[in-house]
């Protein structure tokens, strides 16, 4: 028993977890561990298996094979012990009751509850405490869901695409609140398909694609791995490609006619070296890779490594 506890001293432990729906492997042999105090982003495009992973973690779904442990116990046991607070993407709310009544219920059901007024204030919904739940805007409803997730002193907070439906300022306010939770030593796991969000908030980013863990590292590492910038320009005359291919930090290059397109993990250094070649690039553009392309880049890199 002691070895199990030591091995799962982690907050969350997935061991070779697989979940299929018909022919689709939503989660495919996933192994991962979260450690106390981390803020972790689960990043992936739609259909990558993020929601299924969170559902498995919360015990809403059961794995076909493999094991899911939360604080060394089953997900349900961890929830009953009051160690997990969660906000679901599809988390409906009870209608025709007020915000304060609903949050009061969540506090009442939590073994280690916070005061209702504190929870409302922290979620920024004190002003709408008396409003009926079915009269809320999308962003307000998200804040109520957040209040339900933080109704008590849980050690792990799980958020599935929490900023959906929020405008930019609401988003920033939301993440400021979230950071407070993390600063109190809580482990935070959130799913998102915004690379910027993962970049700005998370200590650690897990990249999920087709149910498999593609990458696990800091946001900077992930971006580097994905070849985070795309540089394109045109050159006149005949192009001598050897010095171009030797540019530093290049992850790929494509020359067609007068147009050169390349991906680089450090655009500043690459462009600097480009000018150092004594050429005069025209229509120079430097752009970030979309997440979708970043995934393609990582996937290709992984496949190249395997073959």
């Amino acid at each position: 028993m002691t070895t199990t506890v030591a091995a799962t001293g982690s907050v969350v432990g997935f061991e070779q977890v697989t979940k299929t729906y018909g022919d689709v492997r939503a989660v495919d042999g996933l192994t991962l561990a979260l450690h106390p105090g981390e803020t972790v982003a689960l990043l992936g495009p739609n259909g990558a298996g993020k929601s299924t992973t969170l559902d498995l973690l919360l015990g809403l779904k059961h794995a076909d094979s493999g094991s899911v442990r939360v604080f060394g116990t089953s997900p349900r046991e961890a929830i009953v012990a009051g160690r997990v607070g969660a906000m679901l993407q599809s988390g409906g709310l009870m209608e025709e009751v007020t915000v304060a009544e609903l949050v009061g219920l969540a506090c009442h059901l939590h073994p280690k509850p916070h005061k209702v007024t504190d929870v409302l204030a922290r979620a920024g919904i004190s002003g709408i405490a008396d409003r009926k739940v079915n009269k809320l805007s999308g962003g307000q409803a998200q804040r109520v869901r957040f209040a339900l997730a933080t109704a008590g002193a849980s050690d792990l907070i799980v958020l599935d695409e929490p900023t959906t439906g929020m405008d930019v300022s609401a988003r920033q306010a939301f993440w400021a609140t979230m950071r407070e939770q993390a600063d109190q030593g809580r482990t935070v796991l959130f799913a998102t398909h915004y690379l910027e969000e993962a970049d700005a908030i998370a200590d650690r980013v897990l990249v999920l694609h087709r149910g498999r863990l593609l990458a696990d590292g800091t946001a900077a590492e992930i971006k580097a791995k994905a070849g985070a910038r795309r540089v394109s320009f045109e050159l006149e005359g005949s192009i001598d490609d050897a010095p171009l291919r030797a540019l530093p930090f290049l992850t790929s290059i494509d020359i067609s006619g007068q147009t050169v397109r390349m991906q680089t993990s450090d655009a500043d250094a690459t462009v600097h070296a480009l000018y150092g070649l004594g050429v005069y690039p025209r229509n120079l553009e430097v752009a970030g890779l979309g997440l979708e392309q970043a995934f393609v880049a990582i996937t290709e890199a992984e496949e190249a490594k395997q073959s």
């Binding site: 779904k61 599809s90 009870m94 009751v97 009544e101 609903l102 009442h108 939590h110």
Partner: protein
Amino acid sequence: MNSLIKLELTRALRNRKFLFFSVIYPSALFLLISSTNGSTAKVPGSGLTLPTYMMVSMASFGALTAVLMGNSERIAKERENGWVRQLRLTTLPGRGYVLAKTASAAVVSLPSIVVVFVVAAALKDVRLDAWQWLALTGAIWAGSLVFAALGVAIGYLATGDAVRPITMITYFGLSILGGLWWPSAVFPAWLQDIAKWLPTHAYSALGQAIEQSQAPHAKDIAILVVFFALFAGGAAWLYRKDTLKA
């Protein structure tokens, strides 16, 4: 779980439409139907006056409305919008949700029964012994559990647009064919043969037996027990299926 029951109750009591249909409507219908004939006319085969007979029918109808209408639609809706999932992330035990719904429906069904009794006694001179009033309240209240289970089963069976028509057909079908709106004695013989096997018929027969100063018939109790087992078993099975699907 008490906190959820309390909140469910608060909500039900705030819902005017629901209160109208479960509390006011049965009393109004009682007045309407019991006034069609003189209040001394006897319902064939029962020895009871029409108001006395219809009082039990309408109290049963009100309780049926309270436990069936509220729950089936709400459960279906809350399953769809994800509230049921959200509750599964709390310490509330899995069955807590259904139990809270049933408990709050049971509380709301009590006024449905009592208001019909008060109206019948005050405006239609229905007179019974004290024990009969108490036994009637108890029997109709306890019997409503059968239909509470049916409401839960429908809530887990259907979703979205389908749940309302299914509830309505079940509700009106059981009410009318079971003889809650008109004594089934006025039905043609072939319809009476069907009606006497319906749970709503057995349900109102419980109360009518008490009014006749008899113990409820064993056959009616047996019918109710069988339907309760059927509805509760179905609800439990559908609930488990829904939970696995999540």
